[in-house]
Structures are given as C-alpha cells and as structure tokens.
C-alpha cells in the first residue's frame, strides 16, 4: 500500500505524553466541534463561551457541574479499572443500575436507623449488587473466555429491563403501591437523603467527595500494592502472569467485581444524592455508563485523571441542561462528547506510533 503517511511504532514513550495527549485531544475536539457548528450556521465562539459560563462561571454552576460529574466519576472509574487490565467492560451502565437497585432497597429497609447507618448500608448494598452483576460477566470471561464486550452490553439491556420490571412490570418492594395510573418508585424520606458537603463555601454532593476517596484508594492500589503489580503484568503479558503463578481467573473476576462495585457505588449515590428513588426511566435515559467510558478513555485509565475528566464532562452536561431551549441546539453535548472521544483515542494512537511522511526518497518523521 503506497500512502503518504505511515504509522511506525515508537520505541519509547515519553511520560509527558500522558498529559499532553488528553489536552491536545480536547483542543482538537473543540476545533472539530466548531466546524460542525459553523456548518449549521451557529457561532462556535459564543456557543463555547456560553457552555463555559454555564459550567464554571458561578458558585451555582460549579455546584451543578459537580452534581453532574458525580455519576460520571464513578462510571469513569469503573471503566478505567477494567480497561487498565485489558478487559473491555462496557457494562458500567447496567452495573450502575443494579447499584441503584441495591441502594434503594437499603434506603427503604433501613429507613429511620439514622443517617450514618443508612448511608453506609446504601453504599454497601449498592456495591454488592454492582459487584455481583459485573461478577457474572467476570465469571463468563474468566472461566469460559467469553467475549466480555458483548456480554456486558447485553447485560446492560437486561438490567434496564429489570428496572422496568421492578417499577412498571410488577408490584415489587421498590414500587410505590400508592401510585395508580403511572407507576413510580417508592421514595426515600428526607431523613435518608445524603447530605451535601461544604467545601470552600460550595455545597458539593457527598458522592463526589467519596468518589475522590475511591480514586485515591485505587491509585494507591495500582502503583503500590501487589495486586496492582499483578494487574499490570496481566495487561502487559497474560502469559507472563500465568508463568509467574498469578491466578488469572481469580484476578479477572476480581477486577470485574471491583469495577462493578465502583459503578454500584455510583448507583448508590444516584439514589442518595439525587433522585431519592429508583427511577427506572431516568436512569436508562441518562447514559452514565457510556459517558463513563469517554471519561476513562480521555483520562487514559488513570483513576485520579478520571475524576478530573468527569468534572469536565459534568460541566459539559450541566451546560447542556442549563442552556436547553430553542436557542441552543440539542444534541450538541453528545456530539462534543463523541468528538472528544474520537480525538482521545486518536491521540492515544500517537503515543504508540509516530507519523512518517513519505516524500520520494527522504522520509521525515513527525512528532
């Protein structure tokens, strides 16, 4: 194949690429987005400015951004955990749902036991449900080597149907028996709502603070512990892991379950911080799980980076809601997120390859 460009493997990977690439990716995405906006007769600069304003300009907007970022931080961490090991878990969506189911149950069951107890039980329950759900896919992958991409995808669907079933299709514990006409879930009483945490005068969701804690814990695990070392070897060379006696199947299952637990944690925050009910329709329309994958990709699977990127994405999402109207085209948020993901993965390629430009006999190397 004679082509002008050729990709050539890099021998070394300069560490600076780790943060340059995401930065350049976002910039490139904004440029592409500007092209789309211009193509349809909108002004990119003013649009971007309005987005920036809505996301970060005032205390209120920041609070809104953090609220929007909270679920994304969890699903982003979930995706990052598995992607780091070479497992493609796109089931964050379904695992989040299951976490919400578990947490809603705990919130209702332990109502009145005092806020700390309720919060702890909701988190635990959410994590357990999320972990178990992911664990199923983990077992299939570990034991049967079944392709986890499709399995987790299918399980997202099944989880959504399960949600519908709990609220619309049956008289379950989660359903409000007093709701005739249009079924809704049983709401938690305000005593079970999760409190806001006051940071520098801003009211932030408890979930976000906890997500930061989880991210730090994960980062520590990856860089300092035996488990992190093993995960790193597994993703680099699975045969070497076998050679060293690392129990592959157990580790794969553990990683999936861990990711599910984190997503489930997010589901708990969803119920505790935001909806205070199992909101079947709302959950399915939100797409937290898939956005989480964008977060993980842009953060290059780094737990701390994931939280940071979640804030960016949260800002985008927040702005999208705030600006919704005839003036502001819908679908722009998704378009920009998609573009960011494109540029993020394309940028990822640049960390592994260089571009060679062919010009007859001489060859010039770029970047």
């Amino acid at each position: 194949m004679k082509s002008l460009f050729r990709l050539e493997r890099r021998l070394e990977q300069p560490k600076s690429l780790n943060w340059i690439v995401p930065l350049v990716s976002v910039a490139a995405a904004l440029v592409l987005g500007a092209i789309v906006l211009l193509f349809t007769g909108k002004n990119p600069l003013s649009t971007y400015w309005r987005i920036l304003e809505s996301a970060f300009a005032s205390g209120d907007s920041i609070e809104g951004t953090i609220r929007a970022a909270t679920p994304l931080a969890f699903t982003g961490l979930c995706a990052a955990i598995t992607f780091r090991t070479g497992i493609v878990n796109i089931g964050g969506e379904g695992q989040y749902f299951m976490g919400a189911v578990g947490a809603a149950w705990a919130g209702l069951f332990f109502a009145g036991s005092g806020k700390p107890v309720v919060i702890v039980m909701m988190v635990l329950s959410g994590m357990v449900w999320g972990a178990m759900y992911a664990g199923i896919a983990g077992i299939l992958r570990a034991r049967f080597n079944t392709n986890e991409i499709i399995v987790t995808l299918m399980m997202n669907y099944i989880a959504g149907i399960f949600l519908d079933h709990l609220i619309f299709g049956s008289t379950s514990y989660w359903r409000d028996p007093k709701s005739f006409g249009f079924p809704t879930g049983k709401m938690l009483t305000p005593k079970e709502y999760w409190p806001r945490v006051n940071v520098f005068g801003l009211e932030l969701t408890l979930g976000f603070i906890l997500a930061i804690v989880v991210a730090i814990a994960l980062w520590f695990m990856y860089t300092r512990t035996r488990f992190g070392y093993e995960m790193s070897v597994i993703s680099d060379a699975p045969n070497a892991a076998k050679y060293a006696g690392i129990p592959m199947r157990l580790r794969i299952f553990t990683v999936m379950a861990l990711a599910g637990a984190v997503a489930g944690f997010g589901g708990a925050s969803d119920v505790g911080d935001f909806r205070h009910v199992l909101d079947a329709k709302g959950l399915q329309m939100a797409g937290y799980g898939y956005t989480g994958i964008v977060v993980a990709a842009l953060a290059r699977n780094n737990p701390l980076g994931a939280v940071f990127v979640a804030v960016i994405m949260g800002g985008l999402r927040n702005a999208g809601f705030a600006l919704q109207g005839p003036d502001f085209p819908s679908g722009l948020v998704g378009t920009l997120q998609g573009l960011i993901l494109f540029t993020a993965v394309a940028g990822e390629v640049l960390t592994r390859y260089r571009i060679r430009v062919r010009s007859n006999n001489a060859e010039a190397v770029t970047a």
Partner: protein, 319 residues
Amino acid sequence: MNSNLIVIVLVSAVFYGTPYFFAALGELITERSGVLNLGVEGMMLIGGVSASWASQHLGGPSWLVVLLSIIIGACAAGLVALLHGFLCITLRVNQTVAGLAITIFAGGLGLSSYFASVWNVATKPTTHPINRLNVLGLADKPIVGPILFNQNILTYASWVLCVVVSVYLFRTRIGLQLRAVGESPQTADAMGINVVRYRYVHTVIGGLLAGIGGVYYSLAIVPTWVDGMTKGAGWIAIALVIFGFWRPGLTLAGAYLFGAFSSLSVTLQSRHVSINADLLNALPFLATIIILVVLSSGWAKKRLGAPAALGVPYEREER
C-alpha cells in the same frame, strides 16, 4: 391461541424485524472483514434523520422522493462508517471504543438530534412515507397474504439481499477473500489480498445497510422523526449477528424472532394474554449470552464462531 393472533405476530415479526435485519446484515458484513462496529445505533440514527430531511425537502413523484431519501440516508450513514473505518483500520484504535464514540457522537443525544433540531425535522410528519405494498393483489389472502404480500419495498429488498449476500460470502472468490481477511489478515496479506481495502469497503457497506435500517424507522414505521427513535435497535443488531452465527439466513430468522418479541408484549397485552412481557423482552439478550458462552468452547468456536481476527487491528510488517 387462535390463528389470527399468530398471523398478527408473524406480520409484526417481519415488519419490525426488517430494520434489525438490515442493520445486522451490515454488521455481519463488516465483522466478516474483521472489523467490529459498535456504532451501528449511531449510524442508523444518522441515516434516519437524513432521510427524514430529504423526504421533507425534495420534490417530485413519491416513489422518487422515497428512493432518493433511502439513498441519502444510506450514504449519510456510510460517511459515518467511513469515519469508523478510518479510526479502526488506519489509526488502529481500539475498535470497541471507536464504535462507542460513534454511537455517542451520532446517537440520540448527539449529532442526529443536533441535525434534527437544526433542520427542524421533527416538527411535522414525513410527506412521503414508505407504505406497504399490495404485491400481485394477494394481500388479502388468508394467512400468507398479510405476511408475504403486504409488506413494504424495503422488506422485499431485504429478502433479495439475504440471498445475494449469502451467495457472495460463500460462493464467490471475493467472498472467500473477504472471509480470509476476517479470519487471518496476515495470511490474506501474504496472498496478495489488500486487507485495508477490503476492510474499508465492507465497513462502509455495513454503514450503508445500517443507514437503510434507520431510514426504515423514520420513513416506514413512524413517519415522523423522534430523537433516538431506533431505541437500541443498533445494539440488537450486534447481538443478532452472533445469534445468526454470522450467516445471513440465520440472521434473517433471528431478526424476525427479535422483531416478534419487540412487538409481542404490546400485542399480547391488548389481547389480555398475560405473559411476563419483561421476560420476553430480555430473552433475546439472554439467548445471545448463552450462545456466546457456547461459542467460546473449542468445538463450537472452530466450526461456528466469529471470524478469528474480529476486533483486532491489523498491522503489517514494515515494507
């Protein structure tokens, strides 16, 4: 159950199964070349919104507008598929992430919704929907009439396509080469087959067909555009390819099965037949998982499984 109910179910199976089949056939072709396309949902929606726009803005006799709309819808999706191809084949990006990016980018919260609002497509119904035909005047015959002779043009086209693609894949030289590209691109390359070209072409073809699937939604099922109206049909199509073991005939059957399920719950409820609708809805996905597990075992994998190089970017040695 009486035969009336069965007929209704079968008619719905074919009617709702057709877009699934188009998208799944496209995905099947793409996967046979070794490329995994998870962006089907996004491509369908782009196709649908483009066709909606076309049918509202083009003038002329109805059949011409419909034809052009289908072509425009297909091409729009094809362009998106070209982007996917560029990411996966040339840049060798992780194909799963690229596909998800496409779906987020083009999907219900993305570009298709953006174009819809910018072009004001959703404000009124299509003036040139795709209607059902009355083939050979046999639409009224009992049982077979409604099922076979009262479908729309895309459904009939899909039957022809099923046969054509089957023959293409398994009886022609090009089809053999395509399958080789999906099974072992190193071997195909060594035999002088242009892996990159085969993958690009068949990824775009997959996009074209997905686009037609999307057009079906916006012009045939509910001739008005609604954001995200495919409601996950793209994901179903991906499952369908596995369900059909990467063979067009089985995929067609599976599409109708899935189509039946998707309309079954509504149909049954209106007939006061109480079967747990949610379980029915979940069945196709559960079935796909089970098939996947079975296919992971050695015996089935060699005989029935996925193209061996599916989802793996191809990197040729330096020249």
